[in-house]
């Protein structure tokens, strides 16, 4: 056997989100060989969750080339801290308090485990295999239920002193504005997250005396509002215009501080197309500091939402020192 080449050319990427846990075997180039998922909420006990996840991962590894082909494991989870390897007080996961998930998985599976939060892992995925490939200074924004971010400085992630950096959704854009779940008022997230967009729509329906397709729909979501835009509904278009105006201010403030080469938008809301991007771009250009205007690219991720975080988790897996219980 040739001793001068690496034998382990694959890793496992795991994405734990509030609803689903997805795990995949990924090679050096980001090719996914096998991918499965299960409902995170089925396992409210963390020990049970770790047991099930470990068993499923081991079964997938055995069915796809075997244990000795796998180098390590990377895990993405909300509120995970890469400096400690813990999930810390996640607001929306079933498991409360501080959970040493990295150590727990390493003990069960016998491979090195890297753990980090979803915003950081998304950024790693974009850098390794996506839109940020080759970039040194960039910001990744995730727009969905919440609004998260991660920025890279000279090719390296900025974690901050305690690993909490990037809480872009909780910067104040409107003094004494909308009430936020975090306890403050006027957080950007209360305007541009899924819930914020729906609230804008509901407020407009009350305040304005105009017809709208949205009025006849019982349940509203950003997707439903987007579909109304596609049918030329003026009020729905105005909902995204207001959303884009707020998002543009937030992004401009962020860019004025960081001076990135690009801002890359990911997540469900990033699929709202021109209805969101045209007003975002306009407001961004209006609010960014003059000497950066025209120099920052606003991009939408070209990775598949279902693959980004397992790819990012696979990229994270390569950053941990190799370790095997059986060798």
């Amino acid at each position: 056997m040739n001793n001068y080449s690496i034998h382990k050319k694959r890793v496992v990427g795991v994405e734990i989100s509030n609803e689903r846990t997805t795990y995949a075997i990924v090679d050096i180039r980001g090719n996914i060989f096998a991918k499965e998922s299960f409902d995170t909420r089925d396992h409210p006990d963390i020990n049970e969750f770790v047991t099930v996840l470990s068993e499923r991962i081991i079964a997938m590894i055995e069915a796809n080339g075997g244990y000795e082909t796998i180098r390590s494991i990377g895990v993405s989870a909300p509120s995970a801290n890469s400096l400690t390897g813990y999930i810390e007080n996640a607001a929306n996961l079933p498991w409360k308090g501080v959970i040493p998930l990295g150590v727990m998985l390493r003990e069960r599976i016998g491979l090195a485990v890297g753990l980090s939060n979803d915003a950081h892992v998304s950024a790693l995925g974009e850098q390794a295999f996506g839109t940020a490939h080759g970039m040194q200074n960039f910001i990744i924004i995730s727009l969905g239920i919440g609004v998260g971010s991660c920025f890279f400085s000279e090719g390296r992630e900025h974690h901050g002193s305690q690993g909490y950096a990037g809480e872009f959704g909780h910067t104040c854009v409107e003094d004494r504005g909308r009430e936020c779940g975090c306890g403050h008022r006027g957080c950007l997230e209360t305007y541009v997250s899924a819930k914020g967009i729906v609230q804008t729509a509901r407020e407009m329906m009350v305040a304005l005396d105009e017809p709208s397709l949205m009025r006849s729909l019982g349940k509203l979501s950003p997707r439903i509002i987007y579909e109304c835009c596609e049918k030329d509904d003026a009020m729905a278009i105005e909902v995204f215009r207001r959303t884009g105006y707020m998002l543009g201010i937030g992004l401009a403030n962020y860019a004025s501080i960081v001076d990135p080469e690009a801002i890359i938008l990911t997540g469900g809301i990033s699929h709202a197309g021109k209805w969101l991007f045209e007003p975002t771009r306009k407001s961004f250009d209006e609010h960014i500091f003059g000497n950066m205007r025209g120099k920052v690219r606003l991009l939408v991720s070209d990775l598949d939402d279902g693959e980004r975080d397992v790819l990012g988790a696979s990229a994270l897996a390569w950053t941990v020192p190799e370790y095997s219980l059986f060798k």
């Binding site: 872009f168 975090c182 403050h184 960081v258 990135p260 500091f289 950066m292």
Partner: protein, 328 residues
Amino acid sequence: MEEVDQIKTRVVGIDIRENRTTYAIVNIRGEIVAQDYFCTADYAEITDYISALCERVLSLIDENGGYETIRSVGISAPSANYLTGCIENAANLKWKGVVPLAAMLQDQLGMAVAVANDAHITALGEKAYGSAHGMKDFIVVSISHGGLGSCIFTNGLPHLGVNGFAGEVGHTCVEIDGRQCGCGRKGCLETYVSDKGLVCTAEEEIARSNEPTLLSQLDELNIRTITECCEKGDRVAIETFRRVGTMLGVGLANYASVINPEAIILTGDMMQVGKWLLKPMRAAFDGHVFHNIRGKVRILVSILKEGERDVLGASALAWDVKEYSLFK
């Protein structure tokens, strides 16, 4: 001893400002061996300025140990770009366009020269010899020269951004459709938290107030005179700083929520105001920063002297460039 090589233990730090250029010989420990200054505005032509600066620096070196004791030169200048070594379109300096300052000085002085902008230099000074000593992730905010600038350090290194413009916190929007800023936009933090912003707030408060205030008797509204009125218990003066401090606190909270620094270090003339500014700043900061960061970010006022910080920072920068000497 000839068996081992000797290092040069001094550098020159230069702080170029709109009205004054300060230059000093500084040793490894940040002790200023000699310092002098002249008026920047006396030289409308950049080539005259460079000649005068070089002559003065060389004569200071001659009087204080000689040329062979100096390792290199570091310079702080507004709108200077560390990546290119140039001053680029400085709004308030007399020299327009792009000035290749590092190359010009290196040519005439015959030793290595590094250039960086004032916010970056201030942060380097704080890290080497001041309040950020030993820190890896921190922000230094300067409220002076009529503006509000900052520099971020990440993992022990400055984050300069892709074009070298990072840190423009003074031009982040804190009030939609707020005060008109010199940069062309509205509601920038700098329009509230700067010398000008302070005066504007004071004028608004004087106009709005129904009670007599010492502020309306002042010949000139500025940081010092308004602070003096606070010390005398003037309620309008106190309210003025409360509003300025609150805006600063909100701006810093947003900054901290994104960066999660271990400390924010405040520098500049505005810091002499003390509690009148800092108490409302702290209250607004705690009221707006993301909860898992609250209580974890130290807000500090620089321990360095205003007149020395930037020559010390420039000296710290000088150590970053590769040594080079024309004569050896």
